[in-house]
């Protein structure tokens, strides 16, 4: 059985809140899958369901084809870090890993290995309560690696990391994927995914709104919007609207055009003899593509600053 996470039709309601509304996706081995979406999109709930911590009202989550509670020695099938602060402050880092190792029938030798890989050797015998958030993240990752699992899952691993740590984390995630492991990484900031993830699952309001590769997502979002500066604004709007575009006046002599590529805008305006002084095709960043995708999914959004017809 391939090392995967398969999430199918998860639904879960907490009181009056529908946390998951048909969440479905597959995490493939050999790549880093970014699990992105605004806060409240259901990412953490999905991860808890994957680990068998929360029971879904409907749907299933399988690790390499098996439901989590069916796994024997689960940490050798999937390693996860959900919350780096989930520690007993009075216990040393090494002892925290030691009981976890013992629960899987693993020895203290394996603990020392993962401590070294996570770069925690010097802090291993200190109480975890005194760790910075960055060090706790490393401890959480060491815990996830204990069972040397083919599937890994990290919830917001970049949180609280300094720039150096973020670079280390990106490299580590890519390294894990390059070893052939399936890696699922959640974040509410797309920028963190830009250089880490190969594949993206974008979630909003409890379901998947895009399941695509990073390259495809950027391609789909690019070139969709053209900014036009013209002295003949009403004429240009008429011509372009007839050509099937959506046109919005964004300034006294500027228009935002969507639905037509830049070349087509130039061609239509030239055919109709409408002059323009400037045209620019907008190249969407991953961040903007993501904003566009999740616009409706953000539960609490600031009012737009300017009036816009999209």
């Amino acid at each position: 059985m391939e090392a995967t996470i398969e999430v199918t039709g998860l639904r879960k309601r907490f009181g009056s809140t529908l946390a998951l509304d048909g969440m479905s996706f597959i995490v493939q081995p050999g790549q880093v899958t970014g699990f992105v979406g605004p806060n409240g999109a259901g990412k953490s709930t999905t991860m808890r369901v994957i680990l068998g911590l929360d029971a879904p009202d409907q749907g299933s989550a399988l690790i390499s084809g098996q439901p989590y509670p069916r796994l024997r020695r689960p940490l050798s099938h999937i390693g996860a870090m959900l919350d780096a602060a989930a520690l007993q402050p009075g216990r040393t880092a090494r002892n925290h890993l030691l009981w976890l190792a013992h629960s899987q029938g693993l020895s203290g030798r394996r603990v020392d290995e993962v401590i070294e890989r996570a770069g925690l050797t010097s802090a291993a015998r200190r109480k975890a309560g005194g760790f910075s958030l960055g060090m706790r993240q490393r401890l959480g990752i060491a815990a996830a690696m204990l069972g040397d699992p083919p599937v890994l899952m990290f919830d917001e691993p970049f949180n609280g990391m300094d720039p150096e740590g973020i670079v280390w984390m990106r490299g580590y995630l890519r390294y894990l994927a390059a070893e052939g492991r399936a890696v699922l990484v959640s974040s509410h900031l797309m920028s963190e995914m830009q250089d880490s993830a190969d594949h993206l699952v974008v979630a909003g309001r409890g379901k998947v709104i895009a399941d695509t590769s990073v390259a495809e997502l950027i391609a789909a979002a690019s070139g969709d919007r053209v900014t036009l500066r013209t002295g003949a604004r009403p004429e240009a709007m008429t011509v372009l609207a007839h050509a099937g575009a959506t046109v919005a006046a964004t300034g006294r002599d500027t228009l935002a055009v969507t639905g037509l590529a830049a070349e087509q805008v130039v061609a239509r305006l030239s055919e109709s003899g409408v002059g323009f002084s400037e045209i620019s095709a907008h190249r969407a960043s991953l961040e903007e593509a993501y904003m566009e995708l999740t616009r409706d999914a953000v539960e609490f959004r600031a009012q737009p600053a300017e009036e816009e017809v999209r």
């Binding site: 020695r73 402050p89 009075g90 029938g105 069972g147 083919p150």
Partner: protein, 535 residues
Amino acid sequence: MTATIAPYRPPQQDGGDGFAPLLHAEWTKFRTLRGWVIAIVIAAAAIAVVGVLLPASGQSHCGSRSGAACLALVPTGPGGEAVNDSYYLAAQPLAGDGSITVRVTSLNGLISAGNGGFVGPNSPPPGTMRPGLVPWAKAGIIITGSTRPGSAYAAMMVTGSHGVRMQYDYTSDIAALPGPVSAASPRWLRLTRSGDVITGYDSADGRHWTEVAAVHLAGLAGTVRAGMFTTSPLDFTPNFPTYAEPGGSLSASVATGTFDDVDLRGGAPGGRWAGQNVGAIGANYAGPRIGLRQAGGRFTVTGSGDIGPVVAAGVNNIFITGTLADHLFGVFIGLLIMIVIAAMFITVEYRRGLIRTTLAASPRRGRLLAAKAVVIGLATFVLGSAAVAVAVIAGSRIAHDSGIYVLASGWPIEVRVILRTGAMLAVASVLALSIGAMLRRSVAAVAAVVVVIVLPYILGVSGVLPASASEWILRVTPAAGFAVEQSVPQYQQVVGHYGPPDYYPLAPWSGLAVLCVYAAVALGLAAWLLRRRDA
């Protein structure tokens, strides 16, 4: 995007899957938190230190006597137990087999109307006594190896309010004809000796006899003493009807039995009935009243004291006695600390979300809870038993050396008390763990275990409630488990204040069973909730 890299195959790892790794993990969790280890050691130390030092301090009952001399005053019966053995005896030697038969026509008594107290030099004069018969006043016939206190014996007797009884070797008591004795309703009593076997009979008419029992008195001398006796224990009137407070007034009492139709077979021809006040009681008391009066075939025997086992709660003890329970006062403190640790063994995991790591590592939640229960149960059992062993063994030796007669001591009972008390601590800790798993919050869980386990104990033993309420609490609440501390048996034929810390309403194992039922139900409920709830 399709994976172009071969999926990761981890190398084969050592280690197994099962309950043992879970136990190992939970034990590692427990021992790696210094606070818990320190707390449980303090709990054990409290049990040991309080048990050894508290009873030893301020005990100098023997006055100027040495401890050994003090202990030498306590008579012990054929079974090795401490006994009261004081009565007035009118007897003749009986060589070999034979029998004694009497008719008892009355049993009357007097109870001191003045200040209560032991019968002794300071007892009130007879003039201040009022008529009255204590429930276990005894008059009847006895065959005894000797008049040395603690000798083997068997006796048939009428009693103040318990009808005819056959008693032998202090601890055994068999009911026979019911009802009080009077001139209109006399009782015939008979004892026969055949070798080591003494058989008792009673009769309401002197013609139709009923065998009560045939008992074997090991090592009975060839020549024994057979005769009539009367004795009367102190009168005990509880003046504050609570369970735990031994409040009550003790009053001296004497009783007089009237006998006729006396028929001794196997005695020396023409033998005379010789009176003797056996045991120290009554020796200095109200001279003329104690003794034997004889008119024709009619005998009146007046005596004071008791023939029976010494009980911890007994009112008739003239000796300084203690029990193993005297050394278990620290158990309550140790229990309090242990149940708090046990509850927090799971609640602290909820505080910061560590429970999610735990449950991800051990998805089978019932087994996880079982592993936690085994770890906390074993830790409290081992440390608790060790601490109780120190308290009981060292404490009772120190008490013994200072002249306190420790009732029901010796290895078999000490080992039982140690293991039972350790088990009680362990089961209470499992109950506390289960409550912690249900409530998931430390403060709430600690409050709940105190209310469920500690509060009933305090209410049960402190004497703030009426006796019946206290007794009920110590039967039906988890505090019933404290019954394991009992080391001394209760005797119906000895009046006493049967309450904590020496006596509980339930037998030791029954009390522990009640606690076990609570723990089992709570553990089952906790497992069900743990499986059902999202983590």
